[in-house]
Structure formats: structure tokens, C-alpha cells
């Protein structure tokens, strides 16, 4: 099947928000195909609609019109529980503000997606430790997020995103809150995952970051303006 070639397909997607009496097109008719194993960078200024597009790809939001397919599955046809399962099993999220759970240690944060999936404790712990090691932060395992630097928190977040072996990583300005050095560490780790076969869609406004990508899509006012 053709669609099996693609990790994500976005077909003429529109997303309309109502602001007061006005309707705002955050995404205004975007079609985009992300190949499996591709590293795609979505660039645009703030308010261009890039984050909305990422949320649509991440099944966190539903398009007003158009379709989003994840590995050939039309997610607009799925119910609440199935969407949750897609997010849990197929997608990994990395956010600008890391969004770690403050009451849990680094180790437990990585464990959490597996707990939600119902992975047995032993397996969970083994995988969490392994991921923290890959991210080079196994020493911070028992520390709470508030005791970690931004770079370390983001590495925990990457480990958490990878916990259930997703095929797609969705990253929203992952280096936005980091200094150049830790930003590079984080980007190298993401690139490493991409080289292992994980599809990466990354949203940024930083041109340096786009150098990591196989393909860059530029967005303005909810439309694709340039592909390179």
C-alpha cells in the first residue's frame, strides 16, 4: 500500500479558531507527507500556525476540515480512546518547556508512559534505565525535575518520549529554552534517534536547527510558502 511509505499524511487540513466574532485560520489548507524515517523541519514565525499543525499531527487536536493519517490510519475516524492509544504507542512528544511531572523523579517520568500502557514493572524499570543511559543522565535518575538543569530536563523528556518505542517523534521547539551547548546535545540525541529509523517532525524558528533536517517546510499564515 502506498500510504505505508508515509509516517504522516496531512491532506488539505484547515483549522479554524473563533476569536470573538472573527474566525482565524491557524492552518489554512496544508497538505504534507512525511516519509518514514524522514527528519522534517517545520519553520515559521510565531503565530504562523506551525505549532497548531504539529498538534494536529500529534492527535492532540482535530482539524476543522481535511484528514490526518498516521501510518495510514485516518485519525479523524478514531474515538477518544484510540487517539490516546496512538499518542501513547506511535508518537513521542517533546515540548519546549519539557513538561515533566514535577512530583516524579527523572526515572519515574520515563516510566510513566509505560505505566499508562500497562507494561510490567520489571520491564518498565529496565527500559527506563536504558533510556536514561542513552541520554547520558543515568546519574540523575532519582532526582526531581526541579533539581535538574534545563538541558537535563529536556533529555529526560526525550527519554520519556521514546519510552514506548514510538515510530514518530514530534518536537515543538525542543531547544527553545536551552543555551547553545545543551541545545546541541539535545539536537544530537534527536538526530541519533532519527538515524535509528525514528521519523522526526520538528517545529522551530531557529535556522541553525533546520540544518539537522532532511527537508524544511516554511509556513506563514497557515500556509506552506516554501519547501527545501
Amino acid at each position: 500500500m502506498m500510504s505505508n511509505m508515509y509516517a504522516i499524511e496531512v491532506e488539505d487540513v484547515k483549522k479554524v479558531y473563533r476569536v470573538g466574532d472573527e474566525y482565524v485560520y491557524a492552518v489554512n489548507g496544508i497538505s504534507l507527507k512525511v516519509k518514514k524515517g524522514e527528519f522534517l523541519c517545520i519553520m515559521g514565525a510565531s503565530g504562523s500556525g506551525k505549532t497548531t499543525l504539529l498538534s494536529l499531527m500529534g492527535c492532540l487536536d482535530k482539524p476543522t476540515s481535511g484528514r490526518v493519517l498516521i501510518e495510514g490510519i485516518d485519525v479523524s475516524k478514531l474515538g477518544e480512546r484510540e487517539l490516546t492509544e496512538i499518542r501513547r504507542d506511535k508518537l513521542g512528544f517533546i515540548f519546549q518547556q519539557y513538561y515533566l511531572i514535577p512530583t516524579l523523579t527523572a526515572f519515574e517520568n520515563v516510566e510513566l508512559p509505560m505505566l499508562l500502557k500497562g507494561v510490567p514493572k520489571k520491564k518498565r524499570e529496565k527500559r527506563a534505565m536504558e533510556l536514561l543511559r542513552i541520554m547520558g543522565i543515568e546519574k540523575a535518575a532519582n532526582r526531581k525535575p526541579s533539581e535538574l538543569s534545563g538541558g537535563m530536563q529536556q533529555r529526560v523528556a526525550i527519554a520519556r518520549a521514546l519510552a514506548n518505542n514510538p515510530s514518530i517523534l514530534l518536537c515543538d521547539e525542543p531547544t527553545g529554552n536551552l543555551d547553545t551547548k545543551s541545545g546541541k546535545v539535545v539536537m544530537d540525541l534527536i538526530k541519533e534517534q532519527n538515524e535509528r529509523g525514528v521519523t522526526v517532525v520538528l517545529v522551530t524558528h531557529d535556522p541553525d536547527i533546520s540544518n539537522y533536517a532532511d527537508r524544511v517546510v516554511k509556513i506563514r499564515d497557515g500556509k506552506i510558502v516554501e519547501v527545501s
Partner: protein, 385 residues
């Protein structure tokens, strides 16, 4: 791990959590303490009546006599001797006492006063009452109750003039508890024969019957209706057990009413839990969004918040129940001056009941915030500032 998460979330705002728990503790304690006190109060009151449950009173059936135009004034209504003999020969009767009574004026020295005079068998008096001084000898003499003797300064040997007949006081009774048959504290007791001599009453005012066992009360009643009352209703049978049942009912009602009032404090605790859990869901909106983004079902979020409420409720209820033992002790000592009934099955029951209501309150109050949290939209929750 979910339980661990719930605990940590509660610890996050320790003071707020502690205050909510204190609310539950107070509520549970109030409900359980009052329940315990109510049960103990009932037990104390009932203990005064313990020995009368097998007692049955047989009265003349006033209505029947009125219908036949005989009994229009009191004092004539009585159970005639033949009927009385038949009653006490019925099965189930273990023991009995014939009683005659009337209200009359009595003269002592220069004082004239009105009082109840009972005519009773010496053995019955011995069985039912205790003597303070003197003896139980009734023939030609009388026995007086504690209060009467106290009021008039009567002594063994004092002479009373009852309706023109002079009786020597042979004994003075100890103060007796409240009874439903014979109340001797302000009365004079003479022998049945002397009573007849003074008042010329043919039958008995009532008969006290002691049945062999509690379940015989009903059988005795039925047997009276079948034999004595078969043609016309001659006597009424009045079981004292009914009084016990009434006391039970009344105290249960009072106790439940008081508990309902105490329940208001639980209600307040419930509202405070509702409040803190709502605040907590607001503060954690972003976290809920993250949980949903990484794959938590709505039901998982719901469960996590309910778990927190459950933990609050469990801690509060258990501490409250334990403290209610102290509360029960304090109230018992203050009002009943005794903790005789504190350590009983009733106490355990009310402790459990308090805990149950404590838990119920927290779960009900926790449900709305938990439900609200689970209904958040993942993206909106993530973007919540």
C-alpha cells in the same frame, strides 16, 4: 505507582491537605462520638429496666365495664377474684402478684395528706422491693415508701391512720427506681386482707405476672385472649417489653437526629475537600494535559484524582474514628459519669459508621473535580497558563 503519585500530589501542598484531613477527622469524630454516646445513653437507661422485660401487667378492661354500665367511677373497676385465679393458673406464668390500689387520705399526728395505698401480699413485697429499716411484716401493720417516710419523718413504730384504721409502720423501703407497676416511694403498702377491711374492694386493681421466658409474653397474651377474654373483654394485657421497645425506638431516633446534626460538620468537610480538589485540578491543568498527551486515558485521570480523595478520606476517617473513642469517652464521662458501655460492639459499629460516612463524603466531593479534570481537552490543558 499510581498510589505513590497520589500520595506525592497530596504532599505537594501539605498544609492544604492536612487542613482537609482535619476537616474529615472532625466530621467523622463528631458523627461517631455522638453515635457512641447515644448508644451508651440508651444502654444506661435500658439497664434500669433490664429486670422487667419478663413482666406483664394485667389490668381490668375499662372499656368493657363502661359498656356494661358498671364502671363509671374509678375504684370500682377491678379484676374479680375468680378471674384473677384463672389468670394466674394459665400456662407460662412463673410467678405473680395481686395488687389492689387506691388513693386516699391518711392522717399522721396532726398532718392529713393524700397518698396511694397498695394492698399486696407480703411475699410479693419481699420479692419486689428492698427494705431500709424495720421488717416486711404486713399483718396489722404497714410498710411505707422512702420519700413518704422522709417527708413525714416516719420511723418504724410510727402510727398512721388510714381511713379510720390505725396501722403501725413495720418497715421503711429503700428508694426504688421508676417502675410501671407499683411505685412505692410515696405510698403505703398494707396486706391484701387489711386493704379489703379498709376499702371493701372485692377484686384486684391489677395483677403483675412474671412469665417463664421472654418469648412467653406473646403466648401468655394470646392465652388470656382465648380463655379469659373469650366471651367479653375482661382484662387488658400490658407488656412492659413494649416500653423497652419504645425507649429503644425513641433513643434510636434521638441518636440518629443528633448524628445528622453532627453530619453537618462532615458536610462542611466535604465542601472543603471539593474546594481544595478543584483548586488542585486547576493548578495541575497543564500536568493533566501532559498526561493525556503521553497516553493517559480520561478514566486514568479520573481514577488518579479519585485515588487522592480516597486517600484523604481514609486517613481522615481512620484518625477520626480512633479519636471518636476519646470523644465518646469524654461525653460519656461528662454526661453519664460512666464508661461502662464504652467498650462494646455498638462503639465499633458507630466508629465504622463514622468512617463509612467520612469516606463517602470525600469520594462524593472528590468526584466532581476528578470528573472535571478528566474532561479537559489535552491541547487546551497543555496550553493552560
Amino acid at each position: 505507582m499510581y498510589i505513590q503519585m497520589a500520595f506525592r500530589n497530596l504532599k505537594r501542598n501539605g498544609i492544604r491537605t492536612s487542613l482537609a484531613i482535619v476537616g474529615i477527622i472532625i466530621g467523622v469524630m463528631a458523627v461517631a462520638s455522638i453515635g457512641i454516646f447515644g448508644a451508651n445513653l440508651k444502654a444506661t437507661v435500658l439497664s434500669n429496666f433490664q429486670n422487667i422485660t419478663d413482666e406483664v401487667l394485667v389490668y381490668p378492661a375499662y372499656s368493657a365495664h363502661v359498656r356494661h354500665g358498671i364502671a363509671t367511677t374509678s375504684g370500682i373497676t377491678y379484676i374479680d377474684k375468680r378471674t384473677a385465679e384463672r389468670i394466674v393458673r394459665l400456662p407460662y406464668v412463673k410467678d405473680y402478684a395481686f395488687v389492689k390500689s387506691t388513693f386516699t387520705t391518711v392522717k399522721y399526728k396532726n398532718t392529713v395528706f393524700g397518698t396511694t395505698v397498695y394492698g399486696m401480699d407480703e411475699n410479693s413485697v419481699k420479692k419486689m422491693f428492698n427494705l431500709k429499716s424495720g421488717s416486711f411484716r404486713l399483718l396489722g401493720s404497714c410498710i411505707v415508701g422512702y420519700n413518704l417516710a422522709d417527708r413525714l419523718n416516719l420511723r418504724v413504730g410510727s402510727k398512721l391512720d388510714i381511713n379510720g384504721h390505725v396501722f403501725r409502720v413495720s418497715g421503711i423501703l429503700k428508694e426504688a427506681g421508676a417502675r410501671f407497676d407499683v411505685n412505692p416511694n410515696n405510698a403505703i403498702i398494707v396486706s391484701l386482707r387489711d386493704f379489703d377491711r379498709i376499702f371493701n374492694l372485692k377484686g384486684y386493681s391489677f395483677i403483675i405476672v412474671w412469665v417463664k421466658s421472654l418469648k412467653d409474653v406473646q403466648l401468655f397474651k394470646e392465652s388470656v385472649d382465648k380463655t379469659i377474654n373469650s366471651r367479653e373483654k375482661k382484662v387488658d394485657v400490658f407488656e412492659l417489653k413494649i416500653i423497652i421497645d419504645q425507649i429503644n425506638k425513641t433513643f434510636n431516633f434521638v441518636s440518629n437526629f443528633l448524628m445528622a446534626i453532627a453530619g453537618v460538620s462532615l458536610l462542611v468537610a466535604g465542601v472543603s475537600i471539593l474546594n481544595i480538589m478543584l483548586m488542585s485540578t486547576m493548578e495541575r491543568t497543564k500536568e493533566i494535559g501532559v498526561m493525556m498527551a503521553i497516553g493517559a486515558y480520561r478514566t486514568t485521570i479520573l481514577k488518579l484524582f479519585l485515588l487522592e480523595a480516597l486517600i484523604l478520606g481514609l486517613i481522615g476517617s481512620v484518625i477520626g474514628a480512633v479519636l471518636s473513642l476519646l470523644g465518646g469517652y469524654a461525653v460519656d464521662m461528662a454526661i453519664l459519669h460512666s464508661i461502662k458501655y464504652l467498650f462494646s460492639l455498638n462503639t465499633v459499629f458507630y466508629m465504622l459508621e463514622g468512617m463509612f460516612f467520612g469516606l463517602l463524603t470525600t469520594l462524593i466531593s472528590g468526584f466532581y473535580p476528578a470528573w472535571k479534570a478528566s474532561k479537559l481537552e489535552p491541547l487546551e490543558a497543555l496550553r493552560y497558563e
